[in-house]
């Protein structure tokens, strides 16, 4: 156990080693996995999860959790889709602020419930997961937004690229990751999130406005989910009230937990989260190459989460103090 701990000196290098070993193992069996084109496939699988993971990371670091991310994604995408359908002549770029603001509003609502009523975020967001999904059905009259409605400029974003043949959608996702890195590491607000998550009782004593930080974190998570929502419309070219974003929160939590973000708050890096997302991307890209049916993907994701949790525990040597129980 201790040997393992010293090898994974840093959490991030541990994941990096896992990614490299995984890719080499797959590459030995199927050499075409180690080519640029499969890197492109991996990257194309990840942008939405990358953005969602940045949102979830900030929430988890603040010692909260947001299960409604997928429903916020679906609702924002649906609002944008309806806008394109009702006002076909509108400039397509308007979709971005609309999606982001819609998401931010939903996220703010989560935050308000958590802060005003002092409710555990896990239950609040379990409730809003259902609530927002239901609202998505209501506003769309349970009908899908079809391909023809989504503006072409938006759809080609996930294929065309400004530089190095990297599509816009991937650039945006990595841009968000860089911004999240900057916010988390180099702004007062970012450090306050970590302080709040490490010790919620001590944070107000240090002059941190807990309510404000919590509200902003939830609103940010909503805004990023909204952005992921319009990118979903770009990537897939449709918005469906029941499918769009369903189960997204679980993929995101998987990526974040694999990336070493602690569910107990205060611990987690953008670098680790990015690597967690990439590891999931590698796994999803490798399955079809290895001839493993897609139906196994969920089981493998689940197993990867459990293994990541166990490795994380081994690395961190949890103390006796953290017996605080489940509903954190």
């Amino acid at each position: 156990m201790n040997v393992l701990g010293s090898i994974f000196f840093r959490r991030e290098s541990g994941i990096l080693v896992m990614i490299i070993l995984f890719c080499l193992a797959v590459g030995l069996y199927k050499p075409q996995f180690l080519t640029l084109s499969s890197l492109r496939i991996i990257l194309l699988l990840t942008p939405l999860i990358m953005i969602g993971a940045m949102a979830q990371m900030l929430v988890l670091v603040a010692r909260h959790v947001d299960l409604s991310i997928g429903s916020m994604l679906g609702f924002s995408a649906m609002v944008v889709g309806l806008m394109y359908r009702e006002f076909p002549e509108i400039w397509w770029m308007v979709g971005f602020p609309v999606a982001i603001l819609t998401g931010a509003t939903l996220g703010l609502f989560n935050g308000l419930l958590v802060t005003i009523f002092k409710l555990p975020s896990i239950i609040v967001t379990l409730g809003t997961l259902s609530l927002y999904r239901g609202l998505t059905f209501i506003i769309s009259d349970a009908r899908q937004i079809n391909r023809s409605v989504i503006p072409t400029e938006l759809k080609v974003m996930s294929r065309t690229s400004p530089v190095f043949d990297i599509p816009w959608i991937i650039l945006i996702a990595f841009g968000i990751a860089v911004m999240a890195y900057f916010v988390a590491r180099h702004t007062q607000f970012g450090r306050q999130i970590y302080a709040l998550g490490s010790n919620p009782k001590a944070a107000p004593l240090r002059g941190i406005d807990v309510t404000k930080v919590t509200l902003v974190v939830f609103a940010l998570a909503g805004a990023l989910s909204g952005l992921a929502g319009i990118l979903y419309a770009s990537r897939w070219g449709f918005v469906n009230p029941s499918n769009t974003g369903a189960g997204f929160e679980f993929q995101v939590i998987a990526a974040v937990v694999i990336g070493g973000v602690s569910i107990n708050g205060g611990v987690g890096t953008v670098m680790g989260t990015v690597l967690g997302v990439l590891l999931l991307g590698c796994v999803s890209a490798a399955l079809p190459l290895l001839g493993i049916p897609g139906s196994t993907q969920n089981a493998i994701f689940g197993a990867v989460i459990l293994v990541a949790l166990l490795i994380d525990r081994t690395v961190r040597h949890r103390g006796v103090a953290s017996v605080s129980g489940g509903a954190a």
């Binding site: 239950i123 409730g127 259902s130 999904r133 998987a254 569910i263 689940g302 129980g325 489940g326 509903a327």
Partner: protein, 327 residues
């Protein structure tokens, strides 16, 4: 995130009426009455006992699981995987009996699968001391994924002789409802009157204190996870009998409804408080609300919205009541 009060001053004991009536169960009962009145105004066909009982059989399996889940939450843990457990156990059961195993043996295999799933949850959250909320999100995906591997996209049929647990009537009451009430009575007695039951509350209220008081906290929590695993499997097999076939997406998203039942019944999410009676009432409340909306011809999507709102309102009300009646 647990509340601790540093000093506890002597306050006058609450009057008896206060103790009896100011509690979440009263709120649940009130909501049931409101639901009944509202639904019968919306549709004159609603107030038919047989119809309500028929509707209850649709969610009886989940209600039974919610009873055990209540005990897990009272002990300070949570489990989001029982719905996935139900699906996987049912798939395992249907799969082995399709492969030629005799029916009783197939049921046993299904139950053992459920027990194993409970054991994995217990190992990860109690033995490895990982937060059960995140562990069971992981196992939720894992179990559902395994069910998807076993069943694929097809539905596995169960033999004719096994179909129709909901059509078995005892004194005019469908069997699943009888099972639900027997389970509720049994678990209610265990939780309310036995030493172990009281110890569960103590663990949920203050785990460290419970440890120092010599309570086998780990053993009890492991036992609860195992019980939840087996009961989920039994519920999954009951659902298979009701539906006549099994798919991997059996009770998909059911964890929301189960947690909702516990919360609506006044179980405190941080542990230490809650009753079986509350969850029992909440299970009926949910049936009344959803049947009421169905007979009133409301979209299923609106029901999803109402479920979400109910969950949030329930937890706000519960927290409020507990804040007013601080021990």
């Amino acid at each position: 995130m647990t509340e601790t009060s540093t000093t506890r001053e002597l306050v006058p004991a609450r009057p008896t009426w206060h103790v009896v009536f100011v509690r979440p169960e009263t709120m649940t009962t009130l909501l049931i009455v409101i639901g009944l009145v509202g639904a019968s105004i919306l549709s004159p066909f609603f107030l038919d006992v047989n119809y309500i009982m028929r509707s209850f059989t649709l969610s009886a399996e989940m209600s039974i699981v919610a009873l055990v889940l209540t005990m897990v939450v009272i002990s300070g843990e949570i489990d989001l995987s029982p719905a996935a457990n139900m699906a996987l156990s049912a798939c395992v059961f249907a799969w082995v009996q399709e492969a030629g195993l005799p029916l009783p043996l197939a049921v046993v295999v299904g139950l053992v699968a459920g027990l194993a799933m409970g054991a994995l949850n217990a190992f990860m959250s109690i033995r490895m001391q990982l937060p059960s909320i995140i562990v069971t999100i992981g196992t939720l995906i894992f179990y559902r994924g395994l069910a998807q591997i076993i069943a694929g996209d097809r539905s596995i049929r169960v033999p004719e002789s096994f179909i129709g647990i909901n059509n078995v009537l005892i004194l005019g009451v469908p069997l699943p409802i009888i099972i639900f009430f027997v389970a509720a009575l049994f678990l209610g007695l265990v939780l309310g009157t036995t030493v172990i039951g009281r110890q569960i509350y103590q663990i949920g209220t203050n785990q460290a204190a419970a440890l120092h008081a010599g309570i086998e906290t780990k053993r009890i929590k492991v036992g609860l996870f195992l019980l939840l695993g087996v009961v989920s499997a039994a519920a999954g097999i009951m659902a298979a009998s009701r539906l006549g076939s099994v798919r991997y997406d059996l009770v998909l998203g059911g964890e929301l409804q189960m947690v909702l039942m516990a919360m609506l019944g006044g179980t405190y999410i941080f542990g230490g408080r809650g009753t079986i009676l509350g969850t029992c009432l909440a299970a009926w409340l949910l049936v009344i609300v959803s049947t009421g909306m169905t007979v009133a011809n409301l979209l299923p999507a609106i029901q999803l919205t109402v479920l979400g709102i109910l969950l949030i309102v329930a937890i706000i009300a519960t927290n409020f009541i507990y804040a007013r009646t601080q021990r």
